[in-house]
């Protein structure tokens, strides 16, 4: 036996690794990192965001779609007519559309898809989107008529969701494991726990994709995500989980940091039905005690946009109402005195696991302490949060990000955990559903935003930022996150 065993081992190890050095990736393939693996690949059954992050606009398409700013555009329907009473929508479909298995897409498939989604035994997670549809009728292979039971100004928006994707009767049952859609990419392989691959679909009806191959890799650990991007294993990580390392990528010319907005309104929710929070003066006092920028800087590494109401700032209908609840501790103390709470008060603050809540909660508690409010922090798991604050309204304050797009309607729900009841707000929502005129709708949406801001239902903290990292040569990625999606159809490598 001789001594230099370790040296020999090391040398052979080096030789071995040199032999397998990775070849440089061709410029028509891309690896995209994602934190969570989807439980299945059928966007029409299952609520997990990760499903749409893989398949939306890549494999599956709907009658309408969202663009990167959240606007609704025609997709498989090239145009539509709406009847005077707002009850009948006639969609004119794209022609020459093929599913990835070679079958034709026509009006029968639209009827099948929508009837399947709204059926009694449907497992569609967003069944409510289709609640107002009374019937779907095939006029001819390229025309479909949707009749509503009552006017719904959000129909075109609802049809753009991944949950409203068009599927084929022949393949729908297997979509969870072998998705077959009409999109620019067709599904290749799913190595569970590791990656999903898809390749360019040659029979695509629209502008062909610029990439030949897309691989979604699932990396849940933030440190591993950092290493994967740094090592070039992943070319883009659109929802990058380690914001504390973003400055390193910003300083490195090989990478680009993409900061956009999401639909995540992060709020300090208040139990409006429980004393002393049922007093609007107390809620307003809390609002004025909060310094939003301090929370964004301290908890979110500076990424996030202050909001003054429950609405996404990148939406054209957004009104900036942050001034209404500006940081003013003196006013806050004044209001507490008026409400008879000059000696201060004690409230519970329940924090679910995400870092915006846990880190943000510490800062919120410190800010509230300055105006004489003691917030008792209690960390809870998601399962506990659903049971306590959400279901049983067992809380005073909690921090949550509401990530569904256009979800201001939750303020009209009597059973929701805010315990907020406003007939005025409900009327605005009812009018909104009966209105299809865009200018009128904007007006109503703005009235709704003002109503909840003036009632100080919750403290509106900030819109979650979408912070992504990508190789500097990757172009065409979405900047914002108007829905859960990684649309790869326009992505390409710059030479």
């Amino acid at each position: 036996m001789n001594k230099p065993f370790k040296t020999t081992a090391f040398a052979s190890f080096l030789a071995l690794s040199a032999a397998f050095s990775p070849a440089f990736a061709a410029n028509t393939a891309i690896n995209v990192g994602m934190v969570l693996e989807p439980p299945g690949l059928d966007p029409t059954s299952g609520a997990a965001a990760a499903i749409d992050e893989v398949v939306y606009a890549n494999i599956f398409q709907g009658l309408t779609r969202f663009d990167e700013n959240g606007a609704v555009l025609p997709d498989l329907a090239k145009s539509w007519d709406i009847s005077e009473d707002g009850l009948t929508y006639t969609f004119h479909l794209q022609t020459g559309v093929k599913f990835h298995d070679g079958t034709d897409f026509d009006a029968e498939d639209v009827k099948f898809s929508l009837d399947r989604a709204r059926a009694d035994d449907s497992t569609n997670a967003q069944k409510a989107l289709f609640a107002d549809i009374a019937s779907v009728d095939v006029v001819d292979p390229a025309t479909v008529k949707i009749t509503l039971s009552k006017p719904n100004g959000s129909l075109l928006f609802n049809l753009a969701w991944g949950d409203a994707a068009m599927v084929a009767p022949e393949s729908a049952a297997d979509d969870a494991t072998k998705p077959v859609g009409t999109g620019p990419f067709k599904f290749d392989e799913w190595a569970k726990g590791d990656h999903v691959t898809m390749s360019k679909f040659d029979g695509y009806w629209g502008t062909p994709a610029k990439l030949d191959k897309v691989t979604f890799k699932f990396i849940s650990d933030p440190t591993a995500a950092f290493a994967a991007v740094m090592a070039g294993d992943v070319d883009a990580f659109p929802l990058y989980p380690a914001p504390e390392t973003l400055s390193q990528f910003e300083a490195d010319p090989r990478f680009q940091v993409i900061v956009g907005s999401t639909e995540g309104e992060t709020i300090l929710a208040m139990n409006n039905g429980k004393a002393p929070l049922n007093d609007i003066r107390v809620r307003e006092a809390i609002a004025h005690a909060i310094n939003r920028q301090e929370i964004i800087d301290g908890a979110m590494f500076g990424y996030g946009t202050p909001i003054g109401t429950h609405f996404a700032p990148h939406n054209p209908a957004y009104v900036d109402l942050t001034g209404l609840s500006n940081y003013d501790p003196e006013k806050s103390k004044e209001l507490l005195k008026e409400a008879g709470l000059a000696d201060g008060l004690t409230l519970s603050l329940k924090l679910p696991p995400p870092s915006y809540a846990r880190r943000g909660g510490e800062i919120v508690a410190a800010q509230l302490a300055k105006v004489g409010i003691t917030a008792n922090i209690e960390n809870v798991e998601w399962a506990q949060w659903l049971e306590g604050p959400f279901k049983n309204r067992d809380y005073d304050l909690t921090i949550v990000s509401h990530t569904e797009p256009m979800d201001i309607g939750i303020y009209g729900r009597d059973d929701y955990y805010f315990d907020y009841h406003s007939d005025e707000f409900k009327k605005i929502m009812a009018d909104l559903n009966n209105t299809t005129d865009p200018a009128k709708r904007t007006e109503l949406l703005q009235a709704a935003q003002k109503r909840i801001a003036e009632d100080f239902v919750n403290v509106y903290l900030f819109e979650l930022a979408k912070t992504g990292v990508a190789n500097a040569k990757v172009k065409g990625l979405w900047k914002n996150q108007p829905t859960q999606a990684n649309d790869m159809s326009a992505v390409y490598w710059e030479d």
């Binding site: 036996m1 001594k3 065993f5 370790k6 081992a9 190890f13 071995l16 690794s17 040199a18 397998f20 050095s21 990775p22 693996e37 439980p39 299945g40 609520a47 997670a125 409510a128 969870a176 494991t177 190595a191 569970k192 726990g193 590791d194 990656h195 890799k217 699932f218 990396i219 849940s220 650990d221 440190t223 591993a224 290493a227 994967a228 740094m230 090592a231 070039g232 294993d233 798991e381 998601w382 399962a383 506990q384 659903l386 049971e387 959400f390």
Partner: protein, 316 residues
């Protein structure tokens, strides 16, 4: 030999029954209803109730325990709540990563530890011994996930010889798959090799001071010859025990390394199952790991009889 075998087998069965009860009870106590978790924020109560019924969560605990055990006995581990596929399929997929990784790490660890331990023992209190002992001390002290990160930083980020993680699958080719397991296996093997080398050394030193070794030396064998012919084989018993323990640890305990290298192994399956309240998957995988650990211990016990002729002769 037969009595020895039967005694061991009884203790294996008892351990398995105890473990299944502990696993079942522990997951009964965990808060959070899997059905409510799956249905999300806006589900109505009747839908959750229907799902509970469908998943068989409404039966009494004893009935559910019995049907779980009965299912496992003929290889039916149930259907995963989240993936909606049989748990046995998920386990089989993951096993193709975890098992080769554990074996790879074990082989590396043994290949490093045996020579290192023998060299250290043969050169007791000489520079080679101090050197090897120093390195192994370091190998035990460094947490393996941190060592893993160093490997990633050096070989993946700086040199770019390896991927920072992931597993391309065996279909990508044997060498490509093995290459993706190399860094994780090295990270897992280093601390194990360090422990094993130290055990090898001290065990060898113990045997070297035995009377029969002195006799062998007295009858004229050289130091080297005594070491190889008499000492090494007799020093193997504690080493085999440690190897057995290490293999179970490598199989079940690679969870952190699997996270660092985002490998789709069993550890990550359990981890994912716990966060998503996929309790049926967690229950079955944990039970499988328990079975693996017990089975390996059993095999190690049998291996004693093979390595140690005295034990074999006694029991005959």
């Amino acid at each position: 030999m037969l009595v020895y075998f039967l005694k061991r087998l009884t203790s294996v069965v008892l351990s398995l029954i105890m473990a299944s009860i502990v696993v079942f009870v522990a997951l009964e106590i965990v808060p959070g209803d899997p059905a409510a978790y799956m249905m999300g924020l806006n589900a109505d109560l009747s839908a959750i109730e229907a799902l509970r019924e469908q998943m068989g969560l409404n039966a009494s605990a004893i009935v559910r325990y019995m049907s779980w055990v009965a299912g496992m006995l003929h290889g039916d581990f149930g259907i995963s709540y989240t993936y909606k596929v049989p748990v046995s399929e998920l386990i089989a997929d993951r096993l193709w990563v975890s098992l080769p990784l554990a074996l790879f790490a074990l082989v590396l660890s043994t290949l490093i530890a045996f020579p290192a331990g023998i060299i250290a023992a043969a050169n007791r209190n000489k520079p080679a011994d101090f050197g090897i002992m120093g390195v192994t001390q370091l190998g035990i002290a460094i947490p393996n996930f941190w060592f893993a990160m160093l490997l990633v930083f050096f070989f993946a980020i700086t040199l770019r010889w390896f991927s920072a993680g992931g597993f391309p699958g065996w279909s990508a080719g044997f060498f490509i798959a093995m290459k993706s397991l190399l860094l994780p296996a090295v990270a897992l093997a280093l601390p194990q090799a360090s422990i094993l080398a130290r055990v090898m050394r001290s065990s060898l030193l113990d045997t070297l001071s035995e009377d029969y070794v002195r006799t062998a030396r007295a009858k004229g064998l050289t130091r080297q010859q005594t070491l190889w012919r008499h000492a090494v084989r007799n020093a193997l018993i504690p080493v085999v025990t440690i190897i057995g323990l290490q293999f179970s640890f490598l199989l079940a305990g690679a969870i952190i390394i699997e996270n660092v290298f985002y490998l789709p192994g069993l550890g990550r399956l359990v981890f994912q199952g716990i966060t998503q309240r996929d309790l049926i998957t967690v229950k079955s995988v944990v039970m499988l790991l328990v079975f693996a650990v017990i089975a390996i211990t059993f095999l190690v016990d049998l291996a004693y009889a093979v390595v140690d002729p005295r034990l074999r002769r006694q029991s005959r």
